[in-house]
C-alpha cells in the first residue's frame, strides 16, 4: 500500500518535472562553443527605458526628501522611498542586461602550488636557525601565552556577582502582607471569591525581584489536595504560588477555573510562554508542558483585619532550574506523598 503510494507520488513528480523543460542538446558539445563571447548591444528602447527609470527614481527620491521635512507620514515615506529605490534598481538591472556589453568570459583558477608551499615552510624554518635551546624557549612562550590569556579572560568574572543562593532568597517572611501588584492595596479575604485570581507582591518589596510576585487564587477548600504538611497553608481556600514559571521564568498569568468541572479541565495555573500547566489543587504539581518542578508555594494566613499575610517563606526556589536550585517539595522528591489524582473532583 505504502509502496504503491510512493510509486504514484514519484511517477507524478518525475512527470511534472519532465514536462516543465523542453529537451536540449547534450553537453558533449561543450568544447564546440566559442568562449569567451562578447556581444555589443544596440537596444535604443532599453536605453530610453533606463533613462526614464533613472529620472523617475531620482524625482521620487527627491520627493522623499521633501516629505521627510514637510509631512513625515510612515506609509507615504516608505512607499515613496521604496518606489525610488525600485526604479533605480530596475534601471541598473535593465542596463546590466540590455544596455552594456554582454560578455561571457573565462578565467583560469590558480590553485596553490606545491613549490610555493615548500618555499614557505623553508622560510618559516629559516627564522629559527641558530637557536640552541628551542624547547626551553617554546615552553617559556607557552607560559607567557597562558598568563596573557588568563589576564584577558579572568576579568570577565567581574561582569557579574556569583548567583550563589539568589533564587532561594525571596522577600517573603512570616507576617508579610500581600498587596495588589498594581495598586499596592492590601489584599482582603473578601476581595476574592472562589474562582478568583490575583497577582500579588509582598508589601514594600522591589517589583524587580523574581521572588516577589505570587499568584493568589481562591478555590473550594474541599477540593484542595495539598500534602499533609501543607494542610493549613490555604485558609478558606486561598492558595498562593510563586508567579515565576519554574521552566523559563515567564510570569504565570493564566488561571483557568472551570464553571463546571464535569465537562472541562480542572483548575490550573498556566504559563503563557510554553504552556506549562500547574495543578493549583495539588501544590502546583506540573501536569502538562515542559516544566518539571512545581511552583513554590507561599503559606498563607488571615490576619485579624481580614487581610492576607504570609505564614512563612516560600516552600522552595523561585524561577528556572539550575544546579543550586532548591526543588520545592513535595512532588519532586516524593510524588507518593500527594493524595492520588483520583481524589480530584474532575478526574
Amino acid at each position: 500500500m505504502k509502496a504503491l503510494a510512493r510509486l504514484a507520488f514519484l511517477a507524478g513528480a518525475v512527470r511534472a518535472l519532465r514536462r516543465r523543460r523542453p529537451p536540449r542538446a547534450t553537453e558533449d558539445d561543450a568544447d564546440a562553443v566559442d568562449l569567451p563571447r562578447r556581444e555589443l548591444p544596440n537596444d535604443r528602447r532599453a536605453e530610453a527605458a533606463v533613462a526614464i527609470l533613472l529620472v523617475v527614481g531620482g524625482l521620487l527620491a527627491a520627493g522623499f526628501g521633501v516629505l521627510v521635512v514637510a509631512d513625515p507620514q510612515t506609509q507615504l515615506l516608505g512607499g515613496v522611498l521604496a518606489a525610488a529605490l525600485a526604479c533605480v534598481g530596475a534601471a541598473l538591472g535593465l542596463a546590466s542586461k540590455r544596455v552594456v556589453v554582454q560578455e561571457v568570459d573565462v578565467e583560469e583558477r590558480h590553485p596553490p602550488r606545491a613549490e610555493d608551499e615548500a618555499r614557505l615552510i623553508e622560510e618559516l624554518k629559516a627564522g629559527g636557525e641558530g637557536i640552541s635551546r628551542r624547547r626551553v624557549l617554546i615552553g617559556a612562550a607557552g607560559v607567557a601565552c597562558c598568563g596573557l590569556a588568563g589576564a584577558v579572560v579572568l576579568p570577565v568574572t567581574g561582569l557579574g556577582p556569583a548567583l550563589g543562593d539568589a533564587p532561594n532568597r525571596t522577600p517573603w517572611r512570616r507576617g508579610k502582607r500581600l498587596v495588589d501588584a498594581r495598586t499596592q492595596a492590601p489584599l482582603k479575604v473578601d476581595d476574592l471569591e472562589i474562582g478568583s485570581f490575583q497577582s500579588a507582591l509582598p508589601e514594600g518589596a522591589s517589583p524587580e525581584d523574581l521572588g516577589a510576585p505570587v499568584a493568589v487564587v481562591r478555590v473550594d477548600p474541599r477540593a484542595l489536595r495539598l500534602p499533609p504538611e501543607r494542610r493549613d497553608w490555604a485558609p478558606e481556600g486561598f492558595v498562593a504560588y510563586s508567579q515565576i514559571c519554574t521552566h523559563a521564568a515567564c510570569a504565570v498569568t493564566l488561571f483557568r477555573y472551570p464553571v463546571y468541572e464535569d465537562t472541562s479541565k480542572g483548575p490550573a495555573l498556566v504559563c503563557p510562554c510554553h504552556y506549562s500547566t500547574f495543578d493549583v489543587l495539588r501544590a502546583a504539581d506540573p501536569i502538562f508542558g515542559p516544566a518539571a518542578r512545581p511552583l513554590a508555594q507561599l503559606p498563607l494566613a488571615i490576619a485579624a483585619d481580614r487581610t492576607l499575610v504570609a505564614a512563612g517563606p516560600l516552600s522552595g526556589s523561585v524561577g528556572p532550574s539550575y544546579w543550586g536550585v532548591k526543588p520545592s517539595s513535595p512532588s519532586t522528591h516524593a510524588r507518593g506523598s500527594l493524595p492520588p489524582r483520583g481524589g480530584a473532583p474532575w478526574a
Binding site: A13, G78, G79, L81, D105, P161, F288, S321, V325
Partner: protein, 463 residues
Amino acid sequence: MGLTDDAVDPVRFVDERLGASSLARRALRYVFPEHWSFLLGEVALYSFAFLVLSGTYLAFFFSPDIEPHQTYAGPFRELVGFSVTPAYDSVLRLSSTVPAGLMVRQAHHWAALVFVVAMVAHLARTFFTAAFRKPREVIWMFGVLLLGVGVFEGFAGYSLPDDLLSGMGLGIAYSVALAVPLLGGALGALLWGGEYPGSGVIESRLYIAHVFVVPAIMALLIVLHLALVARHHHTQFPGPGRRERNTVGNPMWPGYALRSLGLMLLVFAVLVGLGGLVQINPIWQWGPYEINRATNGAQPDWYLGWLIGGLRIMPPLEIRVWGKTLVPNPFWGGALFPTVVFAYLMAHPWIESRLTRDRAPHHLLDRPRDHPWRTAFGAAFLTWVGSIFFAGSSDRLFYQVGIDYEAQVHVYRVLVVVLPIVVFVATKAVCDELRRTRAAPALGGPPTVVRRRPDNAFEELRE
C-alpha cells in the same frame, strides 16, 4: 584652463597615489558564474548593509537606560501615564516624533528577518549543490558562524526596546543560560550581572553588543567569507566549456557590477517598502515589561522560533542527582538543540569528505539528485529543524484551526522523529528516480521518450 593633468585624468591621479591599477583591472575582469541561486548570498549581504545603515540612524535616537522610570506623556494614547523606562520611551519617541523614525525602525526590523531568511536560503543552496567541499570548507564554516552570530544579533536587537515581548524573551534566555549543566548559575549571573531582571545591566550590555561588538564580528566574518570566495573564485554548475580549472561567466565590469548594484537597490526597496507599509513589532501595543505581566502566545522573531519549539515540545525531563538539578529542562530545547544543529552544520564538510573519502578539490557543483544520500540527508535535517520550528507556533495554529494544543504537542513529539525519516526515504527515492530517468528539470538534459510496448509495458527510448 588652470587645471592640472591629475584632475583631468582621475584614473591616473588615483593610480599614481595607490599604485593599484593592475589589481583593479583584475577585479574588473573577475568572472561571476551565473545562476539565480548564486544571488541569494548577495541578498543576505545587502540586507546586512541595510541593517548597518538603518541601525546607525536608529542609534542616534535610542537610549539603552532602564533607570530612572518616568511617566509617559506622548502621542500614544493607550500608554499615557504608564511608568516607562528611558529605553522604552526612546523607542516610542523613535516611533512617533522622530522624522521617518518609525519607517526606519520597521525597515530595520524587517531587514533583520529577511537577512536570516536569505542566509538560510543561501546555506541550503550551498549545501544541496555541495559548494562547501574542498577547498571551501572554511568559507562554509564562516557562513554557518555568520548565521549563528546573526541570530544572536537579532535577538539582542529584539531585546532592546524593553517592551513586554523583549522582557519575556530575556527571561527565557536567562533561564536557558541557567540551564547549562553545573555552570549555568555562574553563566547566567555573569551575563546578566546577577539575577534577572535585577540590576538591569543586561540592557546596556546587549546594547553595546548589538551596535558594536557583534556587528564588528559579523563584518569581519563577512570580509573573510568573501575574501576566501574571491581567492578560490566562485563555483559553477557543469556546462559547456566549464571545467574544474576555470570559471565561465559574466565579468565584474560592466555587466555584473550593474546587476549587483541593481539587486542591492531592489533589496533596499523591498525592505523600505515593508518598513513603510507593514507594521512590525508595534511596541506601543505590547506595552512595557513588568515582571508579573505576560501576554498569551508570546513569540520570538521567526529565526528563534525553532528554539521556542524545542522548549515547548520537550517533555518535562530534568536530571537530578543528590537533590541538585544537573540538567534543567530548558537545556534540551534551548541550548543542546541549537548546539547540535550548529555543530553538525560546521562539521558537515569534514564528515562528508571522511565518509566519501573524497579529498579532491571541487569547483564544479553537484546537482542535488546526483548525490541522493546528501540531498536526502539535508532534506531530513531541514525537516527535523523545520518541524520543531512549526511546533513553536502550534498555539497560534490551534487558535486558527481549532486543534487541541495538548494533542498537537503530543503529535509533534512523534512527528519530529518520524517526519525526517519519511522525508529522507522519499527524497532519496525521488533523486534515484530522477537520476535513473535522466529527466533534467534544472539543466535541460537529454530528452527521454516513453513508448508503450505491444505487451502494454512501458519502455524508455534514449536518443
